[in-house]
């Protein structure tokens, strides 16, 4: 069970308090109706599936409740960093 640093609580907490939230930094388009079918398909379904450094969302659902972003290596499973939602991609 991983220890995950929650950037809001500012402490490492056990993995079972968290829920995984998929790839990070995929913003919902401001005006979806303006998107072509291909652009909308990309937003809905296309993900990087990175081997190695991966930006992803987690939620401290059984803690402070907040979504946040993380950089995790999908090969080693190690977290490089975590940061608050809305902050610049790292």
């Amino acid at each position: 069970m991983l220890l995950i640093h929650c950037p809001y609580c500012d402490e490492k907490r056990p993995e079972i308090e968290f829920a995984y939230g998929g790839e990070a930094h995929i913003a919902r388009p401001l005006d979806p109706s303006a998107l072509s079918d291909e652009e909308w398909e990309t937003y809905l379904f296309i993900r990087s599936n990175a081997r190695g450094r991966h930006h992803e969302r987690w939620r401290h659902i059984h803690g402070c409740g907040r979504f946040f972003n993380a950089v995790r290596d999908t090969v080693t499973d190690k977290f490089e960093t975590t940061y608050k939602a809305g902050e610049e991609r790292r």
Partner: protein, 167 residues
Amino acid sequence: MSSLSVSTSPLPDEPFAADGVRVSRSAALQRYSLRARDPAKLAAVVGRELPGRIGGVTDGIAQLGPDEFLALLPVGTQLPSGEEEPVSVVDISSRAVGITVEGEGAAALIMSGCPLDLDRMAPGQATRTIYETVEMVLVRESETRFHIEVWRSFAPWLWQSLRLSAE
């Protein structure tokens, strides 16, 4: 009809005790979920001081997240709802029930299913966490006394799990 005389709890009246630990149903509480982006506005609406950091507890109000507070107050305490303000005040008095775990073995009993390092949780701290698969809010009232808040329908499971772990 008298409202108090008909209130029901999902937990038994009788506490249980084992080596160094006693588990009992807590007294009824007035509970509020308090939310605001700006805690100062919330403090102004409810007319109370707020903890100022996640995990802190001030006068019965625990800060669970950056914009989330849980007020555990004496029954009958009414907080203003702040309808026009950018805050959320929701009465959740019946949503959860309280379980008191006290004694030298209190921390160890909770750690039978809770993954937190309670050696590192100081008295006066509170947090939402989990016991196996059931979410709870844990308040450390003293070195040897904890208050658990658990949603009503999960309370019997948690009570029985603690009971079995205490044996």
